[in-house]
């Protein structure tokens, strides 16, 4: 059996885990290609106009996998803890894919607090017993933790080194996407700034630190982004918030962060399907120039 995994949305958070889990169960996996123009166009054509760009891209990926694999993994993410939840978009993901693409055979699991329980159900859907599923889950969990720790170590090394560092404060599925996020990272590098990421920090710590900026925030990923901005203050030169239009959680959380962050320069870039690279270039260039000027003694005094 081949399981197709769309390379979009929370693949960038749980991808390693999914790959190892299915491989350990003896399934073949097919990771979708990187996002490209064609996939994005297809996703846009399939979605309602006012859906957010990453969800459109996800639909494009899912459509692309039809016919190439037996089942397509479309998980549902509700909450990680009692007072922490994912954007409601993730609550409806399996239903949106099922409703839009009747030809897709969806494999789904529900993350509602207890991750293990979700994976046990996932294994059962594929016809595997409890022991085998649990063993695969533990292996997968370990692999994901190792991958996260490695990314964190790499970032810490970068942070302890010299040069200008900017927090690319965005959902991982935006900033790590090869089509919508990669140009931003390239431009940042071109301008002499090294991007650092919220998801490569200690996430638990970041979620706790986010309380400093926002008391009420309850979206897991946004908490990590805001917390990272707090956590990294002093180690980075600035923060660029990158949101996709019209991201529901960013519309509130990024706005609040921009209003409350006083001790670190911040910019906000909003991406949509019509974004041109020239606009991005100008904004990022300006921002890095400002940061450089700030660093000079004549301005700082």
């Amino acid at each position: 059996m081949t399981i197709g995994i769309p390379k979009a949305l929370l693949y960038y958070r749980y991808g390693v885990m999914w790959e190892v889990f299915f491989t350990a169960l003896g399934c073949k996996i097919l990771i979708g290609p990187d996002t490209g123009r064609a996939i994005m166009e297809e996703g846009i054509a399939l979605s309602a106009g006012e859906c957010c760009l990453p969800s459109k891209i996800f639909l494009g990926h899912a459509a692309n996998l039809i016919g190439k694999c037996d089942r397509i993994l479309v998980p549902r993410f509700e909450r990680t803890a009692a007072d922490e939840e994912f954007c409601v978009r993730f609550w409806g993901l399996p239903d949106v894919v099922r409703g839009t693409l009747p030809g897709a055979d969806i494999l789904s699991y529900n993350l509602a607090g207890d991750e293990r329980a979700g994976f046990i159900k996932l294994g059962a859907q594929l016809g595997f017993g409890l022991t085998k599923t649990l063993r695969a889950y533990q292996k997968a969990k370990k692999a994901q933790q190792n991958a996260d720790a490695a990314a964190m170590a790499r970032q810490n090394l970068l942070l302890s080194g010299g040069g200008m560092k900017i927090l690319a404060a965005a959902h991982p599925y935006i900033i790590h996407d090869k089509y919508i996020g990669a140009p931003i990272l390239r431009i940042m590098e071109d301008c002499g700034a090294r991007p650092v990421f919220a998801e490569h920090c200690n996430r638990l710590l970041c979620r706790r630190r986010s309380k400093k900026l926002s008391r009420d925030l309850y979206w897991t990923v946004n908490k990590e982004i805001l917390g990272a901005a707090v956590h990294l203050t002093g180690k980075i030169s600035g923060v660029i918030f990158i949101s996709a239009f019209p991201c529901g959680t960013d519309s509130l959380a990024a706005e609040l962060a921009l209003r409350r962050m006083r001790d670190i320069p911040a910019a906000h870039i909003i991406l949509d399907e019509q974004s041109g690279e020239a606009g991005l270039q100008t904004r990022i260039e300006c921002f890095t120039e400002i940061l450089r000027e700030r660093g000079k003694p004549s301005v700082a005094s």
Binding site: E50, V88, W91, D95, D216, S251
Partner: protein
């Protein structure tokens, strides 16, 4: 000495009567000042100071707050439940502070909406009542909401067929007055029996089988008519009986997750946030009851309703019932909405006529 509190909260349809009644009971020493009615100015101010792509209720709430503060309010109330609404309060307070206003912000959102937390917060805001009296005030408000919802439900169904234009609205006005003055359950009973008597006396020219449209969607946009250009009124003028179950009481009734998914008839596997699954299950029951059309209304970018949209589209295709989806934001045009409603009503009428001419088709 603490200055006298002047309390205000955002509008939501005619429920401001109930919010006002509740706040007056909870804070007998304070003055309750509802914001001026929502106008284009409210929409403009709210939109100007809100983030660009936040959902429209946020912008309207913010407009209400600014107008209330300008009118002299110094204590603002906000609540907050699922999806983005739970986070409105913190950002709205920050925006208003950045604008330079000085006020107390009381936010009863999410965990703070639990009964014990509510009474502690209210006490902190200067409510002198003991817990059981706070409970009684909420009970009275809930009962009032039920009476109002029942009348408004009847009114939506029948206002298009009243023999004397304005007679339903007049009863509505009187009922609102009675409810806002109500101080005990006896007042509510007399308001309720007034509404029942008035309904039985009103003259209607209701055809035997009028066009019927069911409305579903995101609750604020449904309940606040100035946010949707009074489209229910327009439908009534087109001679359509409008059915909408979603109201304040519906919002406050706890729902069983599993039953909800069952009622969505296989079109959904999971709850999709806020009232998305309700939109699907109610649309399905409208379709099965032989309604002529469904209106799906939401604010721009409303995620739960967007999650429900593919299921709704499939459902309407399978059941053969037309659906019109409308999104509202600060930039939505009145004329555009009215044209689409008119065209929708027209289409439903022709569909009905065609069915009569070719029976069985």
């Amino acid at each position: 000495m603490r200055p006298k509190s002047v309390i205000s909260c955002p509008h939501m349809g005619s429920y401001h009567i109930i919010f006002g009644q509740l706040l007056r009971r909870l804070f007998p020493d304070a003055q309750v000042l509802m914001p001026p009615p929502i106008t284009q100015k409210t929409v403009d101010i709210g939109g100007r100071y809100s983030p660009d792509f936040v959902c429209a209720p946020f912008k309207l709430n913010l407009g209400n707050y600014i107008e209330a503060l300008e009118a002299g309010a110094n204590t603002l109330f906000q609540s907050g439940l699922g999806c983005r609404y739970g986070y409105y309060g913190e950002l709205q307070e920050q925006i208003l502070r950045d604008l330079g206003y000085d006020f107390t912000f009381v936010c009863l959102s999410r965990q703070r909406a639990r009964p014990l937390a509510v009474s502690a917060i209210l006490r902190g805001a200067g409510c002198p009542l003991p817990a059981h009296k706070i409970g009684a005030a909420f009970y009275l408000a809930a009962k009032s909401a039920k009476i109002l919802d029942e009348y408004e439900y009847w009114m939506r169904e029948n206002v298009g067929f009243e023999a004397v234009p304005g007679s339903c609205a007049a009863i509505h006005e009187n009922l609102l007055n009675a409810l806002s003055r109500a101080f005990c359950l006896r007042d509510l009973r007399s308001a309720q029996s007034y509404a029942a008597r008035a309904i039985s006396k009103i003259k209607l020219n209701r055809p035997e089988n009028p066009l019927r449209v069911g409305i579903v969607g995101d609750l604020y946009t449904l309940m606040e008519p100035s946010g949707n250009f009074y489209l229910e009124k327009q439908l009534a003028r087109e001679g359509v009986a409008v059915s909408r179950i979603m109201g304040l009481c519906f919002l406050l009734t706890p729902k069983n997750r599993r039953r909800l998914i069952g009622e969505s008839g296989g079109y959904l596997m999971y709850p999709v946030g806020a009232n998305g699954a309700d939109s699907v299950s109610q649309s399905l029951s409208y379709a099965r009851m032989g309604y002529d059309g469904i209106l799906h209304i939401k604010s721009f970018g409303c995620i739960p309703e967007l999650n429900a949209a593919p299921a709704l589209a499939n459902l309407c295709g399978d059941e053969g019932i037309p659906i019109l989806e409308l999104s509202f934001d600060c930039h939505t045009s009145r004329a555009g909405t009215e044209t689409r409603i008119e065209a929708f009503a027209d289409m439903l009428r022709r569909k009905r006529d065609a069915k009569i001419r070719t029976p069985g088709a």
